[in-house]
Symmetry: C2
């Protein structure tokens, strides 16, 4: 199964101003395409942090996704940081330049045109919403941070990710997870290739509800484990 | 200013089943107490990933917060991972044992009691909701992943974080950020100790709105920079 990591650039998330929903969108979109996200990280808008992260980490997963910081203001440092992290120069991309010139017309200025300065060797990821493109270089996909633009950019590259998805089944039971831990251990023993997670929620102060999630690339394994769990737990 | 990092444990977040809101709660709660969060990371429920992360990273910030995975089911590995990452044994904590015994009474079992197995030398973080405690060891605070319990646990330790908060002012303007980038550069030149962020949103396909955030530990600096920005941008 292919693996991925997601880097979200954003002081506004680290300071608690904004809830990050981009990582959730990407995690779900990748999961259903059979790509397993192994980590999500949020870092500040600081070029040294981001370039160092890219340098150290981009090779650790099959795909790396970076969201945010590709605009034309001084706090947008992702284009520069990716170039620096990979050790390639930032160059004025001729196609991106043309796109921005056509789009902004008389509203064009040096700051806006700087969005065409991209790491040498990248391919554009087109942006049908506000035109300023994202880009792909090696295994790194760089998207805008505005959700609506991110979704549209992802749509343009989604066919790069076409693996076998994991199958999931969930079971909701009205007992605490401490009551079914023993059955979970038995399932782990009998189905070593299955992943079994338990997610407790509080229904009220002492009434528990537990959601169990059975997960595997093998659909039959998921169904068998679920059936066996129900037997063990006396659920119907 | 003190610094912090947040580690969220959760397959369910990486697979896109669940939106993580715990990191947002912590980021905001720390920000208003003058603690700067330098990164948020989400990792899978895998003991090797978590123990390695703790080993490598816990010393990088003043405070480390870990959320999730402290229950009593086989996919709960945080207690073990923190112990392993710090190179200390997991021991049955006598006070935690007593709390759990009193709480569960006849519903007690070995899995539930395993929630009293904690890294040697830790202090408990009490949980008024479901009793099973979190813990603090060195600079690491370990909380439950259920939001309601996390909030209650944080309440019990919040006085550990009592620094000078950052001041923030925001300014919303109805132009694209590309139009004010030039003024932002001027502000950065005149106020090198200020942090200035711009957060564009799409009002409609070509109508932009930009939120500017002025941030500093010095309130007067924030007010002066905001005033100067308004002059430059011709805003009232």
């Amino acid at each position: 199964m292919k693996t991925a990591q997601i880097l979200i650039i954003g002081d506004e998330i680290l300071s608690g101003r904004t809830v990050d929903t981009n990582s959730h969108f990407l995690a779900r979109s990748l999961f259903v395409r059979g790509v397993r996200v192994l980590r999500i990280e949020v870092l500040p808008d600081q070029i040294n942090f981001i370039s160092q992260w890219v340098h150290q980490n981009h090779g650790l997963c099959d795909f790396t996704f970076i969201c945010g910081g590709i605009g034309g203001t001084p706090d947008d440092i992702t284009r520069q940081a990716v170039a620096r992290g990979l050790g390639v120069p930032l160059i004025r991309h001729p196609v991106a330049e043309k796109i921005l010139t056509n789009y902004y017309q008389e509203r064009s200025n040096a700051d806006r045109m700087s969005m065409a300065d991209l790491p040498e060797g990248c391919e554009l990821i087109l942006n049908p919403v506000t035109q300023a493109p994202g880009f792909k270089i090696r295994n790194i996909y760089v998207f805008a941070g505005i959700p609506k633009i991110l979704y549209a950019m992802f749509e343009n590259v989604k066919n790069d990710f076409a693996g076998e998805p994991l199958f999931e089944e969930e079971l909701n039971i009205l007992v605490g997870e401490g009551d079914v831990a023993i059955h979970m251990k038995q399932i782990n023993k009998e189905f070593p290739l299955l992943e079994l997670g338990s997610y407790p929620t509080l229904e009220n102060d002492r009434g528990y509800k537990t959601q169990l999630v059975f997960r595997s690339q093998n659909k039959i394994l998921v169904a068998s484990a679920l059936k066996r769990f129900k037997e063990l737990a006396g659920e119907k």
